[in-house]
């Protein structure tokens, strides 16, 4: 029910904003067309400004992905995490999630197809995919757009949150779909 409600809101919200904001602005005597164009001017320069940051980050991530380092890491960590109730199969997805959005979607789709959407791994992969963002993409694009080069502790906070969301996914999927912890 909640899902339906949110879906409805999601469908209405953009058209409503495109209707209400210009109308409200007009009622407050804003020259709507001129103000829109004025604000929109920055769209192009902002997007262009991101390019060097995004090239740096995506090249490093692509190299890392193509090298097979994630598979090696997953193989090493598999036996370590298994006693914690974490199936080793989902480790590559856990590593991919903060690095690459399209890569993570690919891995999640494969896990769901191979193990079945209603299997434990399928449900866990679904929850993991839905419960984290592509941390490095967000950091790169947001900071890049205003020329920030030193990120302070932001990457650490993002990664700790990602790990927490991953562990929370494992725990809650065990609880809700009532499979005993090994």
């Amino acid at each position: 029910m909640l899902a339906e409600l949110v879906k409805d809101i999601s469908r209405w919200i953009v058209p409503l904003m495109l209707l209400l904001i210009p109308v409200m602005a007009f009622l407050r005597r804003v020259k709507v067309y001129e103000a829109f164009v004025d604000g929109a001017q920055q769209g192009f320069t902002t997007a262009i400004k991101i390019i060097p940051y995004l090239v740096a980050m995506l090249v490093a991530i692509s190299v890392f992905r193509a090298s097979g380092a994630m598979e090696v890491l997953s193989q090493f960590l598999g036996p370590v995490v298994k006693p914690l109730g974490i199936p080793p199969e989902v480790l590559p997805l856990a590593f991919m999630r903060p690095l690459s959005g399209s890569g993570a979607v690919g891995l999640a789709t494969e896990l769901i197809k191979v193990h079945g959407p209603d299997s434990f791994i399928g449900r866990l992969a679904s929850t993991m995919q839905g419960s984290a963002d592509t941390t490095f993409y967000v950091l790169t694009v947001y900071f890049g757009s205003v020329g920030i080069k030193r990120y302070r502790y932001a990457p650490a906070v993002g990664l700790i949150a990602d790990i927490s969301a991953f562990l929370a996914s494992v725990w809650i999927v065990h609880q809700v779909f009532s499979l005993p912890l090994q």
């Binding site: 909640l2 879906k7 999601s10 919200i13 009622l27 407050r28 804003v30 103000a35 004025d38 604000g39 929109a40 920055q42 769209g43 192009f44 902002t46 997007a47 262009i48 991101i50 390019i51 995004l54 090239v55 090249v59 490093a60 991530i61 190299v63 193509a66 090298s67 097979g68 380092a69 903060p98 999640a108 959407p117 209603d118 679904s126 995919q129 839905g130 419960s131 984290a132 963002d133 941390t135 967000v138 694009v141 900071f143 757009s145 205003v146 920030i148 080069k149 030193r150 990120y151 502790y153 932001a154 990457p155 650490a156 906070v157 993002g158 700790i160 949150a161 927490s164 929370a168 809650i172």
Partner: protein, 199 residues
């Protein structure tokens, strides 16, 4: 830290590739990555331009400021350094709302509009993230999600008996992630101030 991560990804990637005989794949990946970055950035131009224009209208009409006022208790707690009724707060609220609703096309442009406002308030080094920016990014990288639309679609395609059964578990996991992000951000801010009191 971002320097170490960037170098680490590159060095580990190339060493592992050399050991596993994947140097050709890595060479191709490097060029593909650069190409993809430009495509992603150029792909943002259209939606960016549209939403920045709409945001300007909302700001001129006083709507962004009104929104900021509405959620003042919450934003004061999270962003004590932003003056009340500053447009940055309105843009932040719009971005977080778009994220929670899963409107990724609208969330990024609004987020970048918020970053521009935050950069105006950044009184220190303009190349270094401010405290408010770090908090904003923490909220963004670990944001509450109500409906994970992409994954529901994938589950439908895979023939799931109940594609939406993972909505509850996702809300729980994202709520944990967001809470941890806010708490760790606050702790890090304190530690950072103690280590670099002059900043």
């Amino acid at each position: 830290m971002i320097n170490a991560i960037w170098l680490g990804l590159m060095v580990i990637g190339i060493i592992v590739a050399a050991l596993t005989g994947r140097l050709d794949a890595v060479t191709k990946a490097a060029f593909d990555g650069a190409q993809l970055a430009v495509e992603v950035a150029l792909g943002l131009i259209g939606v960016m331009t549209l939403w920045l224009g709409i945001m300007k209208l909302a700001e001129a009409a006083g709507l962004v400021q009104a929104l900021a006022g509405l959620l003042r208790p919450l934003t004061r707690l999270l962003f004590p350094s932003i003056p009340r009724d500053h447009p940055a707060l309105g843009a932040i609220i719009l971005n977080i709302s778009a994220n929670i609703l899963g409107l990724s096309n609208a969330a990024t442009p609004m987020g970048l509009a918020a970053m521009q406002e935050l950069q105006k308030l950044n009184r220190g080094d303009k190349e270094e993230a401010s405290e408010a920016m770090c908090t904003f990014l923490a909220l963004n990288t670990a944001c509450l999600t109500l409906v994970p639309t992409t994954i529901i679609g994938i589950r439908i395609n895979a023939g799931s008996a109940s594609p939406t059964e993972i909505v509850g578990t996702t809300i729980f996991a994202t709520a944990v992630g967001m809470t941890v992000a806010v708490v760790v951000d606050r702790i890090s801010r304190g530690l950072y101030r103690r280590r670099f009191p002059w900043r």
